[in-house]
Structure formats: structure tokens, C-alpha cells
């Protein structure tokens, strides 16, 4: 049984979790705002902490032309949303599914995945299981928005 003394992450883990690239996205989020002519919009909430994110996409022929997010929440959620919006522009529905699986795999392993672009910086979240949901929330909202956008 893990004991309370096992802070698997330690302060090195904390440095990885709150690295500058993540805090920078938190302070100056990219692609934050409403999206005109959105083809799919979906909101996800984490009732435990009140995190709340809405993702809007505009797709054309199954490819993301543009994506935006709005919402409030912790640094990990906000940074993940900001980085995710940057990653998905120009991607097809199928590519996004593959990336989503890779992101989940990264949270399980803690190994940064270069194919995830800046989101690779979130590998440090792996050592903080109570924070996985924060990093996954924007992905859940994106999936909902893509679902609504089907056929566009």
C-alpha cells in the first residue's frame, strides 16, 4: 500500500508539472474566445473543482479549420486547452482520435510524446493522478464538439 510519505512526484515532479511552458500557456492562453460559424460546440465540467471548459470547432470535410476554447479552471486545464487548440488546427477527425489515445498513453506512462507538440509538456501530469482529469477535460470537450460537427 502506498503510504502518505510517498510523494512519488517530489519537488522535481512539481517542477515538471508547473514548467514554464505550461504556466506561460496558462497566463497567455492561445485560441481562447468564441468561434464564429462553429460547426460543433461542447462543454465539459469537473464538478469536483468547478473547472469548466467549452470547445468550439469549425470543420470542413472532416478536417478542423479552426478551434477555440473558453472556460475557467486550474493551470493544467487551461494550459492543456490552449495547447490542444494549437495542435488540432488542420487535423482530420481520425488524426485527432489517434492523438487523443496517445495523450492518454502519455498520462499513463509519463513519457513525453513528440507527436503531441507542446502538449508533450504535460507528461509531468502523469505523476499526479488526482490531476489527470484536469488535463483530459479539454480533450473530452473537443471530442463532444467533433461529435456534434459530424457530417461537416
Amino acid at each position: 500500500m502506498p503510504t502518505s510519505a510517498d510523494h512519488g512526484a517530489g519537488s522535481a515532479g512539481l517542477a515538471a508539472l508547473y514548467q514554464e511552458r505550461i504556466l506561460e500557456h496558462y497566463r497567455r492562453p492561445r485560441h481562447k474566445g468564441t468561434l464564429e460559424r462553429a460547426t460543433g460546440v461542447h462543454a465539459e465540467k469537473n464538478p469536483l473543482c468547478g473547472d469548466d471548459v467549452t470547445v468550439a470547432v469549425r470543420t470542413s470535410g472532416g478536417t478542423v479549420a479552426d478551434a477555440r476554447f473558453t472556460g475557467v479552471g486550474c493551470s493544467i486545464m487551461q494550459a492543456a486547452a490552449s495547447m490542444l487548440m494549437e495542435l488540432v488546427a488542420g487535423r482530420t477527425r481520425e488524426e485527432i482520435e489517434v492523438l487523443a489515445r496517445r495523450f492518454d498513453a502519455m498520462l499513463a506512462s509519463g513519457e513525453a510524446d513528440a507527436s503531441l507538440g507542446e502538449l508533450g509538456a504535460l507528461a509531468g501530469v502523469a505523476s499526479f493522478p488526482t490531476r489527470h482529469k484536469c488535463a483530459r477535460l479539454p480533450w473530452m470537450a473537443l471530442r463532444g464538439a467533433m461529435e456534434q460537427s459530424k457530417g461537416e
Binding site: A5, L14, E24, G50, D51
Partner: protein, 406 residues
């Protein structure tokens, strides 16, 4: 100095670096509680009230003694009016279901306060929806107290119940129980008190409090999880329908109807949780040995010190009453623009355990215009050094978060 030796608590003793500041969620358990439960299973385990053999008799006796011990601790002379439940949540559900459906009807009013934990909010809200009653929430004064003037106005002639917490789990506010009871009784409503955050920290004298029911949780007062209870005025309990049906709570079961056992059994269907009741009895004996006056004084001193240390941190916003005397050992705050979950994660790495979130009080968080706060809560084993560790870790968190701003 702590009020109780850290060495008495095996988990704390085994983790010297741990700064446990989440006792409002659940307390740590002293060895005497764990030993009492183990000893019950090793020496007295049998299904009580069932067998004619000696061991079952011993188990029955042990269970009865535990009830007497806890009732005595909470100042109730009539021990059979203490119903054991899984905890405060089940206790409130018992009241809202068994008493509520019998006494609250369309057009009646139920009054709660803005401070309530979801466990003392949702059961009443849902009862109101079920029967078509009005559900009204008494708002707070600017310093986090129940607005008693508004309460007087809200408690109208059609009000059947005022349900309120003894102490707010989110802000630590200690409510004026006698005054709230007076307001309820003035128009003939019952006053039900959620004592989950009261019983662990304040001397409760049920027979003097005049509340009609007082609910509590064992695990917040050094006892095990899964046991708690509610003390209810005998005349209310005797008139109430049972809450759950099954073994133990019956007297005679006929093909077409059933008669009910006497108190407390009428409200305790199924095999009782004897081992946890024994653990809870050991916990209240332990608290008695410390002295509830000492427990309270210790918490006021720690809260005062914490309020002082935290107020000195630039950008830290404190919620709740300004004075330590008006609170239990709970300090709720936000740290600048850093989300409470980020604060909590950064503190965790320093071994400082605090709660971040809405504290099961979403209606209160909305009124405070926030989604979440950080909450540090103190109990008998905490020390000024724990407060220092909290303040130091908060300063580090702030530096880390704001290091590269600009």
C-alpha cells in the same frame, strides 16, 4: 504543542513529515480506537440481539455500552434516542425521509441556510420537490454568519422544519444554535441540527440545546468511517414511521402487516455496525480524557495563529468570520489568481494535506462568487509548526507560480 500526542496516532507517527490539515474531511484515528475495534472482533464478535448463546449476549452488551457512551458524550440522558447510522449523511436522509414525508406537505415551507453542506441541503431540497413544499435558503451576513434577521422573516407560520449546521464545514462559522432553535420553535417548527463539524470540536449538551435532532459523524471525531448517528427527541421518534425495514427493527411480522420494535431498534434495520460503534465509543472516551475545553482552546489558538500568518501573505484572501473565536478550526482561503487545485498540488509535494474544491457546499461557493477555495482544518494533533509549514509552503507556491511573470 498539540492537544494530543502525535504518537497516539499510528498514521501520523509513521509519517513524521506529514502535515495533515484536512480533519474537517476526516480525522486521523488514535491507536485506542483501532485497538478497540480489533479487540471486539477478536473477543466479542457475534450478531447482537439474535442468539441465546453467551457470545451473542456479550456482543449485544458491548453495542449497548457503546451507545450509552456516545449518548453521554453528546449530553443525551436518554441513550435509546440515539440512532446509529453510517454518518451525518444517512442521519439527515433518515430525518428528511421518515419525519419529512410524514410532516411536510404541499404548501408547507422548509428553511435551510446558505452555509449547508450538500448532505443537509439536497435531502431537504428533494423532499420539498417531492411533496410540493417551498424550499427557502437563509442568506449570510458579510462575515459569513447566518443572517438571523432574515431567518426570522423566512420562518413563517407554514414552516415545518429549520435545518441548519452547527458549524460550517467550508468556512468554520459557528452558528448561534439556541437563537436558531428559538426562531424555529416560536412558530412550532422543528429545528434539526447537522453537527458533523460541531460534535468533534465543541462540547455538545443535547439535552440543553433544545434542538429536535442532532446528527453527527464518527469519522470526523477520531472514530472509524461508517458509523455516526442522530439523537432525536423521543416523542418525535416514537411518532415517526421507520426509515428502513428488515431484521431487528420489527416486533411481530404477520402475513399482512408488521409491528415495530422499541427504540432505538425501530430505526436500525439489519445487523448493526457493532465494531465501528465500539471504535466510536473509544474515540469519545479519548476526547473526554483530553477534555473538550482543552480541544476547543487548542483549536482557537491554532486558528488565531493561522489567520495571523495567512493574512500576512500578500494576495491571500480569507473567507469566513474574522475572529478565531467565531470559528471552529477551519481556515478557508484563495491565493491570488492561483487555482485552489494548483495550490493543493504544490502543498502536497511538501507533505501539506489541504482540501481544495467546493467542500460539498456549491450553493455557498456561488454566494461567495468563487468555484473553489483552499481549506486548512485543525484538530487535536496539529501544532503551530503545522501552521508554519502551511505558510512556508504557500509562500513557495506563490513564488513558483509567479516566478516568470512579466
Amino acid at each position: 504543542m498539540s492537544a494530543a500526542p502525535r504518537a497516539d496516532f499510528p498514521l501520523l507517527a509513521a509519517n513524521p513529515g506529514l502535515v495533515y490539515l484536512d480533519s474537517a474531511a476526516t480525522s486521523q484515528k488514535p491507536r485506542v480506537v483501532l485497538d478497540a475495534m480489533r479487540s471486539y472482533y477478536e473477543n466479542a464478535n457475534a450478531n447482537p440481539h439474535r442468539g441465546a448463546y453467551k457470545l451473542s449476549g456479550i456482543s449485544t452488551e458491548v453495542y449497548h455500552d457503546a451507545r450509552r457512551e456516545v449518548a453521554r458524550f453528546l449530553g443525551a440522558a436518554d441513550a435509546d434516542t440515539l440512532i446509529f447510522t453510517r454518518g451525518t449523511t444517512e442521519s439527515v436522509n433518515l430525518l428528511a425521509t421518515a419525519w419529512g414525508h410524514q410532516h411536510v406537505h404541499r404548501g408547507d415551507r422548509i428553511v435551510v441556510t446558505r452555509l449547508e453542506h450538500h448532505a443537509n441541503f439536497v435531502p431537504w431540497q428533494q423532499l420539498a420537490r417531492d411533496v410540493g413544499a417551498e424550499f427557502r435558503i437563509c442568506e449570510l451576513t458579510h462575515d459569513g454568519h447566518v443572517d438571523l434577521d432574515q431567518l426570522r422573516a423566512l420562518v413563517t407560520a407554514n414552516t415545518k422544519v429549520v435545518a441548519f449546521g452547527h458549524v460550517s464545514n467550508a468556512l468554520g462559522t459557528i452558528n448561534d444554535v439556541p437563537e436558531i432553535v428559538k426562531i424555529a420553535h416560536a412558530i412550532g417548527a422543528v429545528a434539526f441540527c447537522d453537527g458533523a463539524q460541531g460534535a468533534p470540536h465543541l462540547r455538545v449538551a443535547f439535552d440543553d440545546l433544545e434542538v429536535d435532532a442532532y446528527a453527527f459523524s464518527g469519522h470526523k471525531m477520531l472514530g472509524p468511517m461508517g458509523i455516526g448517528g442522530v439523537i432525536v427527541r423521543r416523542k418525535l421518534l416514537e411518532a415517526m414511521h421507520p426509515y428502513q425495514f428488515g431484521g431487528d427493527m420489527i416486533e411481530f411480522v404477520f402475513d399482512g402487516d408488521t409491528t415495530w420494535n422499541v427504540l432505538p431498534h425501530k430505526f436500525e434495520a439489519g445487523t448493526p455496525n457493532v465494531a465501528d460503534a465500539v471504535g466510536l465509543a473509544a474515540a469519545v472516551r479519548y476526547l473526554d480524557a483530553l477534555g473538550m475545553g482543552v480541544v476547543r482552546a487548542h483549536e482557537v489558538a491554532l486558528s488565531r495563529y493561522a489567520l495571523e500568518r495567512l493574512a500576512a501573505i500578500d494576495g491571500l484572501h480569507l473567507y469566513g468570520p474574522a475572529s478565531a473565536e467565531a470559528r471552529s478550526g477551519v481556515v478557508s482561503f484563495t491565493l491570488g489568481d492561483i487555482h485552489p487545485h494548483d495550490v493543493s498540488t504544490m502543498l502536497d509535494v511538501d507533505g501539506v494535506c489541504v482540501r481544495a474544491g467546493h467542500h460539498c457546499a456549491q450553493p455557498l461557493m456561488r454566494a461567495l462568487h468563487t468555484n473553489a477555495t483552499v481549506r486548512a482544518s485543525f484538530y487535536v494533533y496539529n501544532t503551530a509548526a503545522d501552521v508554519d509549514a502551511l505558510a512556508t509552503s504557500l509562500a513557495k507556491a506563490k513564488a513558483r507560480f509567479h516566478a516568470h511573470v512579466g
